[in-house]
Symmetry: C2
Amino acid sequence: MSDTPFSFRVTHTDGLARRGTMTTAHGTVETPAFMPVGTQGAVKAITHRDLESLGAEIMLANTYHLYLRPGDALIARQGGLHRFAGWSRPILTDSGGYQVFSLASRRTITEEGARFRSHLDGSAHLLTPEKAADIQAHLGSDIAMALDECVAHPCGVREAADATARTLRWARRGRDRVLALRARTVDGVTISNDGQAQFGIVQGSVYPELRKESASETVAVGFEGYAIGGLSVGEPTGVMYDIVSQTAPCLPAHQPRYLMGTGMPEDLVESVARGIDLFDCVLPTRNARNGQLFTTEGRLNIKNARYAEDARPPDPACACYTCRTFSRAYLRHLFLAGEIGAATLNTLHNLNFYLDTMRRIRDAIAFGRFERFRLAFHQSLSRQALDS
Amino acid sequence: MSDTPFSFRVTHTDGLARRGTMTTAHGTVETPAFMPVGTQGAVKAITHRDLESLGAEIMLANTYHLYLRPGDALIARQGGLHRFAGWSRPILTDSGGYQVFSLASRRTITEEGARFRSHLDGSAHLLTPEKAADIQAHLGSDIAMALDECVAHPCGVREAADATARTLRWARRGRDRVLALRARTVDGVTISNDGQAQFGIVQGSVYPELRKESASETVAVGFEGYAIGGLSVGEPTGVMYDIVSQTAPCLPAHQPRYLMGTGMPEDLVESVARGIDLFDCVLPTRNARNGQLFTTEGRLNIKNARYAEDARPPDPACACYTCRTFSRAYLRHLFLAGEIGAATLNTLHNLNFYLDTMRRIRDAIAFGRFERFRLAFHQSLSRQALDS
């Protein structure tokens, strides 16, 4: 199916949950895995070395942002995103489509692609399935995503069906482009990573029939992996879980399944229980910068007055640098003083919490005790919800 | 002279330059030393562990800021600044006077002290020599500074003489207070650090006679060390060097000499050549956040367009994490994208440059080749001034 070094092997299953190893051109990723979001080629507020020491095996970067600034051609001339950003582990890039839908102005969708104006300088751009593939070839990520059309929530079934059908046509065009790039039959595009894989994206909003159709037809195109897109866009959590439950079994068992943009820690556990292998989300990093910490006992808002003289670490059960070294009182002080270090220390903790949760999930699956882990995880969260 | 564990020993001299070891209640500091500024109990944009790994042996914290927020009494209840901030190495605190002069509004100076309004909430405060000692007792720094009156530049000789005389009277009151605190004859003040030393401050603006008089009378009060204040406030560099040259010999040879608020890398070298042991300055950290990097070849403004595709590290001669890992092109991208990480990586580099310069100074003095080092340092800087 593919001439890339990309491969995926499920090593353990426990119910629908899977533990696996994903091999990319820049190394392996143990799954289920959480991918910290490095929008500009860097996870906000922490250094690459700190991110590596937290155990992050793969980073997500945003095609839309890097395309606009510093530009994918510049990054290609610098040897690709890994070399440019000084990050040697795997990278997944999104297609740019989601940011076009959420950030850009004067957006119009046609069969050709998405026309939009840059949120930075108002310049006009056209993102097509081919262009999304070319930009990601320049970036040289290990996993590129096909361009899709993500509809908002709520969305009528007719509109959802149209967007899903267009996403499928775009998937075929995007896949054709990647195969042409691999065959070196495209001029003017620098291939920064010979081993780049490409994932297709299943759409269909909250409609199970659309989702199943989208899944089977996207799989028929033939990608190295598959994502479920268009969730975590405002629908109730139960609806999201149901759609994941109904969609995941329609995806090939021997290929990675990626739930895009999700989510809360409990969403990761619940989605793994439904057969998902990969996640990304801005919550741990964005909330850290806003002073919200994820802990084994729920969320903690460090700016609350109740922590002014609280000498305990944010999460007494946590072994991260922040929890080993600093008190809630000090972290609150740094946050209220507007110190950059508050963002750094909170981000270190939150990412450790997410990455450690994934480690515990992987261990639980490997030892056939995932259901016990799942139960204990929810019990701990509900026992004492801190500030949530 | 003192019942604190504080001591200072000059181990090598080379011309007027001195290499020494300063012992405090929280460990030793090799001198000449640069003290990174941790205004709020944290050096901006980097973690304590990164600061330690750069080799920083002592941090400066600002009494004015910590007094206003979170409050010195709160910090005392949390066990003092070391424990509150999770920093176990030595800390020097300033008296708060300089920030009252530079940040606070509606400031009036009387013999009693400095009345001012907080820059945070407009609340009214009175900082006296005794109050400055009490606050620093609460903070529990290893070195406390006496309250002084720092005049602006330019300043007439009459005004300078008045401020210098008042600084001396305040020095006596501040010293009396510290001795009373040590003797446990002051109620209502928590001593967070039994081993705190206190330094006096020499003033006198740009007037050599005032400086000499201030030095001899401040030394007569009897502190554990002495600072030269009121420089790096806008006077020409040559004037600063002359005042340091004339003042340093008036200070005891067996006690540490601290030049407050200085300065550029070349100022550190020139002041060591005149007998200074300790420095602090916001330049390496503040300029880092503004995109200016100190290198062996001069200053480099990372936002300059010329670096857009420059794959070289900021300073090819530097072994810091930033220079080992990242290109000028990437650091420029992070800076222009407004990433917090730009501040972190630039700060790591600039502090490494300052702390490494001090290491090289100490080595040069120990091996009797400080004058050769001094010459080579200036030659390297002037050979190719980058963006300065």
